[in-house]
């Protein structure tokens, strides 16, 4: 039972579920940084400082080699592990901030709930493209983050 403190509010937390890096976890903070902590030493290992708004979610894709972060600056950034420069930066003028992101079980898609009452699917294999056909509308989300989830048969 350990405590890790940074004096900043952390909004999102994810363990890296790789076998070699099982002692590392990422936390998305309110001061626009994603911080990687080491549980064994209790120290900060890496900082990812590219967002322009408080981090909402962090999701691992591609077998834990990359992770995707969304923030209050209405953008999505894809990072390689341990490299503090984002590989891809997705920000469209019609995009809203995405407070909840879930990865699909087969690793091909991300379901992101965006604030304009839509759930959008992003392909996350090599090209992070918005899948125009898979936009789900119908929920009225009044500013809350409702987590979408995939059924195991991807339907």
């Amino acid at each position: 039972m350990r405590r890790f403190s940074n004096r900043k509010v952390a909004y999102c937390i994810r363990f890296n579920t790789d076998e070699e890096r099982a002692h590392l976890f990422l936390s998305g903070m309110s001061d626009k940084k994603i911080i990687c902590w080491d549980t064994r030493s209790g120290r900060i290992v890496q900082e990812y400082d590219r967002h322009l708004g408080a981090i909402n979610t962090v999701t691992f894709v591609d077998n834990n080699r990359r992770f995707v972060s969304t923030a209050d600056d209405k953008s999505i950034r894809v990072w390689e592990w341990d490299i503090p420069v984002d590989v891809k930066y997705i920000a469209e003028p019609h995009m809203h901030s995405m407070p909840a992101v879930t990865a699909a079980p087969n690793g091909k898609w991300l379901a992101c709930q965006s604030m304009d009452n839509k759930i959008q699917a992003f392909a996350c294999m090599n090209r992070f493209k918005l899948n125009q056909k898979k936009v789900f509308q119908g929920h009225m989300v009044a500013g809350y983050a409702c987590a979408p989830d995939f059924s195991p048969d991807m339907r």
């Binding site: 039972m1 405590r3 403190s5 940074n6 004096r7 900043k8 952390a10 909004y11 999102c12 937390i13 994810r14 363990f15 579920t17 790789d18 076998e19 099982a22 976890f25 936390s27 903070m29 940084k33 911080i35 549980t39 120290r43 900060i44 900082e47 400082d49 590219r50 322009l52 079980p105 987590a147 059924s151 195991p152 048969d153 339907r155």
Partner: protein, 312 residues
């Protein structure tokens, strides 16, 4: 001199009558000048329009409709009252384009000068208050490099402030503060550090270890469903029936996370600063409650093997 000249009157009488000039007389018209005011008015102002009238039943010409009012002014009456249609003056509709209006308004606010919008007036209107406050306020300076041709040193919108420290590591003073806070919790001989800090886990079930000594983290094997299988079912169905309601949290839930690999447990975190571990099959009991956060718990995450949970 007299009108008639008597110069050669002595010499002869009859012959001088023809050569004497006749004195010229000015024609004097002694009739007074009379102006027929009514006649003039009829012809000149025959098409005058009563300014108080509200409806006209004919189409006057522009000159007739907007001819100035005639008639003597009453010297005892206030003449400016005639020009007023409002309490303090005369109001009429005017048109200013929106872009011009905004331009003048912003100029007035920023620089203190704007074009005079009165009808027919020229010149400027000055705002002395704004003119003195046109210097920008002291802004916090950024170490910015917005030159896009500079490949290595380009900062763009990611420029940091001059007096800002960019490391998330606590500074030595903050580190000492954190250690002092944690050490305070360690004081008191009898109580352990965890209890004093308030971090404790309350186990609610009696049979934590089964007959073989395996804890509840081990997946149960006496179920209809095989939790060790890796394959995905061919068809998944939408949920239709409510099976169970877990009660235990007093405030809203923020996150639910399945136990990795074999989802026979799940963690739930809520705004009442508690995290509870629940069973999915069999009795569906609450296994453990983790206390220790003072504020709401926002997010939780399982380790790869499920023996550690991270809590925010």
């Amino acid at each position: 001199m007299s009108l008639v000249s008597y110069a050669a009157s002595d010499s002869s009488g009859a012959s001088d009558d023809d050569s004497r000039p006749v004195a010229a007389l000015h024609a004097v018209n002694s009739a007074p000048q009379v102006s027929d005011y009514a006649r003039d008015a009829r012809t000149q102002f025959s098409s005058a329009i009563d300014p108080k009238s509200r409806e006209l039943s004919f189409n006057p010409k522009f000159e007739d409709l907007f001819a100035p009012q005639f008639g003597p002014e009453n010297p005892f009456k206030d003449a400016s009252a005639a020009r007023r249609n409002f309490l303090t003056g005369s109001v009429e509709e005017a048109h200013v384009s929106a872009a011009q209006f905004e331009l003048q308004r912003k100029n007035f606010h920023a620089y203190g000068l704007a074009a005079n919008p009165s009808d027919g007036a020229t010149g400027h209107v000055a705002n002395h208050v704004a003119a003195t406050c046109s210097q920008p306020r002291n802004k916090r300076k950024k170490v910015a490099n917005a030159d896009p041709s500079d490949v290595d040193g380009y900062t763009g919108p990611w420029a940091h402030f001059e007096d800002e420290s960019r490391s998330a590591r606590p500074s030595p003073e903050e580190q000492m503060e954190i250690e002092a806070l944690l050490a305070k919790k360690k004081r008191g001989g009898q109580k352990t550090a965890e209890e004093e800090a308030g971090e404790r886990a309350t186990v609610h079930i009696e049979d934590v270890y089964d007959y073989q000594g395996r804890s509840f983290l081990h997946a149960p094997q006496d179920l209809d469903v095989s939790l060790r299988a890796d394959h995905v079912p061919a068809k998944c169905f939408l949920p239709k029936k409510l099976i169970h309601t877990y009660t235990g949290h007093s405030k809203a839930l923020t996150a639910i996370r399945w136990f990795p690999r074999s989802a026979h447990l799940f963690l739930s975190s809520s705004m009442d600063a508690k995290i509870k571990l629940w069973e999915v099959y069999k009795d569906r009991r609450c296994v453990i409650t983790y206390l220790g956060h003072k504020q709401a718990v926002r997010d939780i995450s399982f380790n790869r093997s499920g023996n550690k949970e991270e809590v925010v």
